[in-house]
């Protein structure tokens, strides 16, 4: 059993693929220190789809970038915390070690496929690049090439490249691109948005990572194309048993795709658990407010529920629980100390001092239409 | 009492603007070189403004009718052959020239001349360039094509040669130099602002302005142009130095300032003959040019850094 210090209700299980504990990431700017992440705790299990939801500015993307150690320093800096991936703390690794992990064991796909793909290289070349960095072909990796003399080098490079290219074509076929040989030779601007996103997914899954981070992967796509991509991701996950960490503000996608969900507010996780529980019967006041504010096709409402106030300024965040200024259950304790994320039921975590009272208060009855 | 209330209202009204300016000044202060540029420019400006107070000798302005019958105002300095070519001393800080005129006073008044040239050329060119470039960029289509072709034509005119031609045809004078320079200086401004406008006009607030009934002109000059101006601002500041160098150069080769005028380029030209036995004659006007152009360049760099959107919050 791993020894983790200092968190209440120690709940790290060996089966966690990714365990983040008390992650703190700050940004040092002209106007002050932006305390973007303040004690983030979350777990992702192998092979599951985990959704991280929250509104703009709550820190979801920054959490992912922190895990990948892609935070720009300056102005950002990971101050404290632990990121355990397969048992090892990523924060203790060197840049070289991280490069071996990125693209290989943890991959990330981004929102805008046009800017994430390099416009001057063909799609096939970009997938080959990832493959060559992490895999061996014909028993050789590109790091072995310098060992040969100059004459042989060109020949070997060409051979390795050809093998890798074949695999790149297969990767494109896997993401249901109908003419992968042709597409591999095309440039990103020649493809539609949906195709580009598929190419991106192909690139990121080429090395069979155990964790795929998808940051708003379908926001820039049409609705029908989005449905195709989500279906694709589900299938690939089943086939390769990759865990998917889905970051989005679209609650519909989360409801459809995710096994478990974490809700983030102003830099920390307020609630985490199984999707049905979070959507149907949330226990944190913020999650409740959020679920009440979504228009649902299954309900008839005159007015949507509103969470009063606005998202706090992270340079001067409210003391104690950052949600307390907007919370109707807030008491003095909430202003003084930030609530820890506690496992209140099996696989259900809430960060609220008044969890018991909130849980038992009257919930607005939802009229469900057949 | 009333005064402080008015001040209060004023600050409240412009609170945001004040905050913005403070932020820009902060960024500016952080760059030592930009501050130096600002100080140099302000220094030259003050010298030009307070020239009469600083100089010990003063020129007189005489109306002159040239051979061609045109009327002009010429600068005349009193000559004193007893004091010719004196090295710098307590009475003449920069020494005297071959006509006994106090070089310090001439350099100080020269600041006026030079700044007048720079500012006039650049400001007029900017106005022409902005008007033409905005119309081309905003309305597009045939108007854009026509204006851009005209711009191309003007761009292919060599400025120096044009200045020489004008001088030989109409006589040498600073005014002619300025006119010639304006002729060839506006095209780059038109291009710069047209480029900016092509992207600014796609913003939704431009559409919004049309939807509330604003006429095309209002949209262009109240919404589009103000938001397209920043890259131009940097170019303008740097150009002030460039124009100064060109004007001084033209005066140096004999096109431009009429002999006897206190103009830095002209002074260097005349001082060439005396360079080895009266080093002060070329040195001080030369230094003046150097400081002024350096000031403009540093200031321009500073402004560019400050208006760089990536550095703002």
């Amino acid at each position: 059993m791993l020894q983790i210090q200092g968190c209440e209700g120690d709940f790290v299980k060996k089966k966690d693929l990714l365990s983040i504990r008390k992650l703190k990431t700050y940004f040092f700017t002209y106007e002050g220190v932006v305390k973007a992440l303040e004690n983030v705790d979350l777990d992702i299990y192998p092979g599951e789809t985990f959704g991280l939801i929250g509104e703009t500015g709550c820190g979801k993307s920054i959490t992912a970038l922190s895990v990948m150690r892609l935070i720009q320093e300056p102005p950002g800096k990971i101050i404290d915390g632990q990121i355990l991936f397969k048992g090892e703390d990523l924060l203790k690794k060197s840049e070289e070690e991280m490069q071996k992990i990125r693209g290989n064991e943890i991959s990330m796909i981004f929102q805008e496929p046009m800017t994430a793909l390099n416009p001057v290289y063909t799609v096939g070349d970009q997938i080959v690049e990832v493959l060559l960095l992490h895999k061996k072909f014909l028993g050789l990796s590109i790091r072995d090439i310098p060992k040969y003399n100059l004459l042989k080098r060109r020949k070997i490079k060409k051979k390795i490249y050809q093998e890798a290219f074949k695999e790149a074509i297969e990767a494109l076929r896997l993401v249901q691109i109908s003419d992968p040989e042709k597409v591999a030779k095309q440039y990103p601007h020649e493809l539609s948005g949906g195709m580009r996103q598929r190419a991106m997914i192909a690139m990121m899954l080429a090395c069979d990572p155990s964790l795929l981070i998808a940051d708003e992967p379908t926001t820039a796509l049409d609705v029908t194309v989005q449905a195709q991509i989500l279906e694709l991701m589900k299938e690939l996950q089943k086939r390769k048993n990759t865990a998917i960490w889905l970051i989005t503000h679209n609650l519909g996608i989360v409801a459809e795709m995710c096994d478990r969900v974490g809700v983030m507010y102003a830099g920390y996780i307020v609630e985490m658990g199984v999707t049905e529980k979070i959507f149907d019967n949330p226990d944190h006041p913020y999650t409740r407010g959020l679920m009440g504010a979504i228009p649902k096709i299954t309900e008839e409402k005159e007015q949507l529920e509103i969470i009063p106030g606005t998202v706090p300024n992270l340079i001067y965040p409210p003391p104690g629980c950052r949600f307390h200024p907007r919370c109707k259950y807030a008491i003095d304790k909430c202003k003084q100390s930030p609530p820890p994320l506690v496992e209140v039921e099996k696989d259900h975590f809430v960060a609220c001092h008044r969890y018991e009272e909130v849980k038992h208060s009257v919930v607005v009855k939802r009229e469900r239409k057949a | 009492m009333i005064k402080s209330k008015k001040l209060e209202e004023f600050t409240k009204k412009h609170e945001s603007k004040i905050k913005d300016i403070k932020h820009m000044l902060y960024l500016f202060r952080r760059s030592l070189l930009s501050m130096m540029g600002l100080i140099l420019v302000l220094f030259v400006l003050l010298v030009a403004v307070f020239a009469p107070l600083l100089a010990s000798q003063h020129p007189s302005f005489v109306e002159v009718t040239s051979e061609r019958g045109t009327e002009r105002i010429e600068e005349r300095w009193s000559i004193n052959f007893d004091e010719k070519l004196l090295p710098p001393n307590s009475e003449h800080l920069f020494g005297t020239d071959d006509y006994g005129r106090d070089i310090f006073s001439m350099v100080v008044y020269g600041a006026r001349t030079s700044l007048k040239i720079c500012l006039l050329v650049v400001i007029v060119s900017t106005i022409i360039g902005v008007v033409l470039g905005s119309i081309a960029g905003y309305f597009g289509g045939k108007i854009d094509e026509i204006i851009m072709r005209v711009t191309d034509i003007f761009l292919s005119i060599p400025g120096l040669i044009l200045a020489l031609a004008v001088a030989s045809a109409l006589g040498r004078s600073i005014e002619h130099v300025m006119e010639a320079l304006i002729f060839v200086w506006w095209p780059p401004y038109a291009r710069i602002i047209r480029g900016q406008i092509l992207s600014v006009r796609e913003n939704q607030y431009v559409e919004a302005a049309r939807s509330i009934g604003a006429s095309s002109w209002r949209v262009l000059f109240k919404h589009v142009v103000p938001n397209s101006f920043s890259p131009l601002l940097v170019q303008i500041t740097l150009d002030l130095g460039a124009v100064l160098l060109v004007a001084a150069g033209l005066s140096f080769i004999g096109v431009g300032a009429t002999p006897g005028t206190a103009e830095w380029g002209l002074m260097i030209s005349t001082g060439r003959m005396h360079m080895f036995h009266a080093w002060w004659y070329v040195t001080f006007p030369g230094l003046a040019i150097f400081i002024t152009v350096l000031g403009f360049n540093l200031l321009g760099d500073g402004i560019r850094d400050v208006t760089d959107p990536r550095l703002r919050r």
């Binding site: 539609s192 049409d222 279906e231 149907d280 228009p295 | 009204k13 939807s211």
Partner: protein, 323 residues
């Protein structure tokens, strides 16, 4: 045109020419809106739904003549907008306004809130000084802001507040009809809720008619009375909102509804996602534009374009499956 119709559009076409080069003879067009018929009643919220590139944004702008139409007629409050000259159109402007999608780019970053909200009043009603101030403050209160915000710049506000400023600007001239182009798409869920509530309340209070353009079906369900579904420049189905969600006729509508994820984990997807991509508007498919992706396609579908017909009370469909 009946008494209670505020906007009636017939055979509307909007084509954008594509420049092909200096010497080419033929011209290509982006047929953004291709023969659209639609009408909107006084006081209702009419939803317009479709994916990106279907022409809904263009339709919204042509409807209030922000862009001129290529062909067709637009009757607004009895006047044919397509036949008006510039100055008559300007007189009608105050009656039809627009709220834009992106709060960050729909407000001029160099103008204060007072200038932004006051500009329509300055241009059209020539208000000045104290009178202008008063009216602007009144408008700010209507949208939930106050006089403290008068002299601030857009970048100092959150997305939701910026959108409120946009709404205040649209209300300045007391319009009867407002086109809202994806007004909440760029906003967070909780902020969206505030804006939608505000829009609903304003409609009741001021008797406004809305054309609400969006791709979010949940929002349409919440806010609109009737809905039109648009695909590749044409309207394929029109219906009362409730009824659309109960039963869909056009195959695209069915596919669209099942493609959009619902924020309720208990409801699982029924249909497989639609194959293919949204067609290009330069060379749309022949006949019914949806036929290459349609699972119920018949031979006639690739030859003849189906017309929008009323098959039930207030239900219109453009599909050969229904006669």
């Amino acid at each position: 045109m009946t008494q209670d119709t505020i906007l009636k559009i017939d055979n509307l076409k909007k084509y954008f020419p594509i420049k092909k080069g200096l010497f080419s003879l033929s011209k290509d067009y982006v047929k953004a809106v291709d023969n659209v018929d639609v009408f909107i009643k006084h006081g209702e919220t009419f939803g317009l739904v479709g994916e990106s590139g279907c022409g809904k944004t263009t339709l919204g702008r042509v409807a209030i003549q922000l862009i001129p139409a290529t062909a067709g007629t637009i009757y607004f409050m009895g006047e044919n907008l397509t036949e008006l000259n510039k100055s008559d159109l300007r007189k009608l402007r105050p009656h039809m306004q627009m709220v834009f999608q992106d709060p960050s780019s729909s407000l001029n970053p160099r103008m204060t809130v007072k200038q932004i909200v006051g500009e329509p009043l300055i241009i059209n009603e020539k208000l000045k000084g104290e009178a202008l101030n008063k009216k602007v403050i009144e408008l700010l209160y209507t949208v939930g802001l106050n006089e403290q915000h008068l002299y601030r710049y857009p970048h100092e506000f959150s997305g939701g507040q910026k959108q409120r400023i946009g709404v205040a600007r649209a209300l300045a001239l007391n319009p009867d009809f407002i086109v809202l182009d994806e007004p909440t798409s760029a906003l967070d869920v909780s902020v969206q809720a505030q804006i939608l509530n505000l829009l609903k309340n304003l409609q009741k209070k001021l008797g406004l008619t809305y054309l609400f353009i969006t791709h979010d079906l949940s929002v349409i369900h919440y806010i609109s009375n009737r809905v039109a579904i648009m695909y590749a420049g044409r309207i394929v189905e029109v219906s009362k909102t409730k009824e659309l969600f109960e039963k869909q006729y056009h195959p695209y509508t069915k596919a669209l509804l099942s493609a959009i994820p619902i924020p309720d984990p208990k409801i699982k997807k029924k249909f497989k996602p639609l194959k293919g991509e949204v067609p290009s508007l330069v060379n749309p498919p022949s006949g019914c534009r949806f036929h290459p992706r349609c699972t119920k396609k018949m031979p006639i579908c690739s030859k003849i374009e189906p017309e929008l017909k009323e098959i039930e009370d207030q239900r219109f469909v453009a599909c050969h499956l229904y006669k």
